[in-house]
């Protein structure tokens, strides 16, 4: 049996403090990822990543094929965007994204053939620079949900002393199982990537971190860690306690190395790079085929979905179409979320496109959507106990009400990653994450004038 502490399997170097135990609801864990039928049209926004939006490089009437470049920019923090279906560009205009922001988008009407662009060929990669160029060209952004352009994350300067790559297979949000499916179905890609990244980027240690609610994945991941290519035994599997937010970047760094990322800094500042396991697997696939990021796996689940599934969808597919493929709604949906229930975004309707960084669509019936009413704070401190960042939400809320920016600064509110543990734990149903967001805004604006 694969267990932490036995036979080279690691336990957390420094256990994460705080966090909350949530119900896992991993209903789709044993469901293989299924391709949805080719959608009739896709709407591909030019902003599917953290950073500057891309500009369309195609115009209405152009014929495009799968993997063809349709959006790019020379701004640094960005990632190019490619067509996810073959067909004709029917619109290039403004579209409202799920978070309410307007963005340019390219709408392609599919010809149903999913023809590959004939310019696709596997990139030639021998050095770190080659790899960075290739990763950028692939359009890869953090597939765990953050959407940070991966080529920037991997292009760390030499003086940062990066020694550890942490591969995030924790998947701590309830319902979502696509990272687990990646481990079970694409372990070969993960394996290739691990040793490739280790070689080219010079990591001294690779830690593959997974939560203990995925025992089937342990065997698979342990095989990767024990592979004969790991001559110096530098690739290790780490089994972590299933607790939210185990998979958060700073939590991953602490568990894997014992180091704590200082406020305002990045994992790179303590010598680590954290990557989602699906992003890692994609790199190997891209180097093998040259096909850029045009589709991704998603979990579709929730009490209002008739047939929960794991699906593979082209980027830009309409959310309503995906839900229809999963049997549609079995009860009237009261809330639909992209992402997980702890940090996901509630959307206004299903007529929206799927973005590169969306990893789940969850639809809830009224019973699950309506939360307990808000009552007065009883100062029980469960929020402070739950906070993985050692913050005191009760004090922050008080300072925010008084618009006291100095106290807010002292309390460290900018360190808050809005994971939702505090609001989850609050018996009075206080909307603490909203308070934290308001507090951050007050701090930015400097408080009482």
């Amino acid at each position: 049996m694969v267990k932490a502490g036995i036979d080279g399997v690691l336990k957390a170097v420094k256990k994460v403090r705080g966090g909350v135990k949530v119900d896992h609801h991993k209903n789709t864990a044993e469901m293989e990822v299924v391709r949805i039928p080719t959608p009739s049209k896709v709407v591909i926004p030019m902003q599917q990543h953290i950073g500057s939006p891309c500009e369309p490089v195609v115009k209405v009437g152009d014929e495009v094929a799968v993997g063809q470049l349709i959006g790019d920019t020379d701004k640094f923090v960005s990632a190019p965007i490619h067509a996810s279906v073959s067909g004709k560009v029917v619109a290039v205009g403004d579209v409202k994204l799920p978070n309410g922001v307007m963005s340019k988008a390219v709408t392609i009407e599919s010809d149903g053939e999913m023809r590959l662009w004939d310019g696709i060929k596997p990139p030639h990669v021998e050095t770190k620079e080659d790899l960075i160029k290739a990763v950028r060209a692939s359009g890869l952004v953090g597939l765990g949900g953050a959407g940070f352009p991966t080529h920037i994350k991997l292009n760390f300067p030499a003086d940062k002393n990066i020694d550890t790559l942490v591969i995030n297979a924790a998947e701590c949000e309830p319902y979502i199982t696509v990272d687990y499916r990646e481990c079970m179905e694409n372990s070969w890609d993960i394996l290739s990537s691990v040793y490739l990244l280790k070689d080219l980027l010079g990591f001294k240690k690779v830690v593959i971190a997974v939560e203990d609610n995925k025992p089937e994945a342990f065997k698979v991941l342990k095989n990767i860690a024990d592979h004969k290519a790991d001559v110096d035994d530098e690739v290790k599997l780490m089994v972590l306690e299933s607790k939210y937010p185990q998979g958060a970047e700073k939590m991953m760094v602490q568990s894997a190395t014992g180091r704590r990322v200082p406020p305002g800094k990045l994992p790179a500042d303590v010598g680590c790079v954290v990557m989602n396991v699906a992003s890692v697997a994609f790199i190997a696939r891209y180097l093998k085929t040259g096909k850029p990021l045009v589709s991704r796996s998603m979990t579709v689940d929730g009490s209002a979905i008739a047939e929960p599934k794991n699906v593979r969808v082209p980027v830009g597919t309409n959310i309503g179409e995906i839900i229809d493929f999963c049997g549609g709604f079995k009860t009237e949906p009261a809330k639909i979320i992209t992402g997980g229930p702890m940090m996901g975004l509630a959307i206004v309707g299903t007529d929206l496109p799927v973005l590169k960084q969306n990893n789940a669509i969850l639809a809830f019936s009224k019973d699950d959507a309506v939360l307990k009413p808000e009552t007065d704070c009883i100062r029980c401190g469960r929020c402070a106990i739950a906070c993985p960042m050692s913050l005191m939400p009760t004090n922050i809320v008080k300072a925010a009400k008084a618009k006291d920016a100095d106290t807010l600064d002292q309390l460290g509110v900018t360190v808050c990653m809005e994971c939702g543990s505090c609001a989850f734990a609050c018996p009075a149903g206080k909307p603490l994450v909203q308070h934290m967001r308001l507090a951050k805004a007050i701090l930015r604006e400097g408080g009482k004038k």
Partner: protein, 328 residues
């Protein structure tokens, strides 16, 4: 919108724990019931009259106070019921009912509602009410009924602390009597076994942390061990007399008047224990728990300020600054 119906679009997180304030208060009520039953057995049906008075007075006071202050009604969260119960446990069974009612009123209206309601009281409401009653109605508050005398005729008796303190010549109850609550004292503070059971229930239900009770009780034990020159019986008597168990499990652990973070909780518990012992050993009052908890309640904001946790990853600057200063 889906099928013409609007969706709930609220901020994350979209799931919550099932716990509620009312659920927590209900757990406290449940934890207090064994002691209430023991009190009835020891001190008779009047226990129920006193308890009903304090609880009804507390709930009514809260309802009326909120109405007068034009705030939303909060009696549904059961916190007034808890305050009423705990106050009753702090009173002798013979207390005139009108005094008990005044105590509740003071606890809820002055200590709690005038400072903003639940979560905002500056000190434990029941403790302050008990002290006010002690100062205003000293004789009534010191009129201890002997256990089981309700069956025949009420007889007054002395508390073990008074005996230990040399105030009266009387025989101490046996340790077993102390454990079962067969001694003079406030109606809810004598029965050690039910108080401990209630405390364990609260800790198991994660309503309270073990830190404050252990620090409080542990400190009293250690100090009394030293004061009694190693006499374990002396320690046992002190732990089971007065309000140590009631205070450590049910009053010092009140959320709004105790620290949130673990280390601060321990400091708070130790402080309560130390003050209790100092008052018992050196002051003219036999009982110190109420005043100890009150004083520590007032110190909590300062303790929390000094022991505030550093946000994740904050690097300690002090050491390097000190070295710089020394080098200069």
């Amino acid at each position: 919108m889906v099928n013409g119906k609007k969706l709930v679009v609220s901020a994350s997180p979209h799931i919550r724990t099932k716990d509620t304030t009312r659920g927590i208060m209900l757990d406290v009520v449940i934890a207090l019931i064994p002691t209430l039953i023991a009190a009835v057995i020891l001190f008779g049906w009047r226990v129920l009259a006193v308890t009903a008075t304090t609880v009804i007075s507390a709930v009514l006071s809260e309802f009326l106070a909120r109405k007068v202050m034009k705030r939303h009604n909060t009696i549904g969260d059961l916190s007034a019921v808890v305050t009423g119960l705990i106050l009753a446990f702090n009173l002798p069974v013979s207390i005139p009912l009108w005094m008990a009612a005044i105590g509740s009123f003071f606890a809820i209206v002055v200590v709690k509602q005038m400072f903003g309601g639940i979560g905002q009281n500056f000190a434990n409401p029941a403790i302050v009410a008990r002290i006010i009653l002690l100062l205003s109605f000293g004789q009534a508050m010191g009129n201890w009924t002997a256990p089981f005398s309700w069956k025949t005729e009420a007889v007054t008796t002395a508390t073990p602390l008074a005996i230990l303190g040399g105030e009266t010549e009387a025989e101490l109850p046996t340790l077993l009597d102390m454990f079962l609550g067969i001694r003079g004292g406030c109606l809810g503070e004598t029965c050690a076994v039910t108080l401990i059971i209630g405390g364990i229930y609260l800790m198991a239900r994660r309503v309270i942390s073990y830190k404050i009770p252990v620090a409080f009780i542990g400190t009293v034990a250690v100090v009394m061990l030293i004061a009694g020159k190693g006499d374990l019986e002396f320690v046992a008597y002190h732990l089971m007399s007065g309000g140590v168990l009631l205070g450590a499990f049910f009053m010092a652990t009140d959320y709004s008047t105790s620290p949130i973070k673990s280390n601060a909780k321990i400091v708070f518990g130790i402080g309560c224990g130390l003050l209790t012992c100092v008052i018992r050993l050196f002051a003219s009052l036999p009982e110190g728990v109420s005043f100890a908890i009150l004083i520590m309640n007032l110190l909590v904001p300062h303790i929390e300020r000094i022991m505030a946790p550093k946000p994740f990853g904050t690097i300690k600057e002090k050491k390097s600054k000190k070295k710089e200063g020394e080098a200069k």
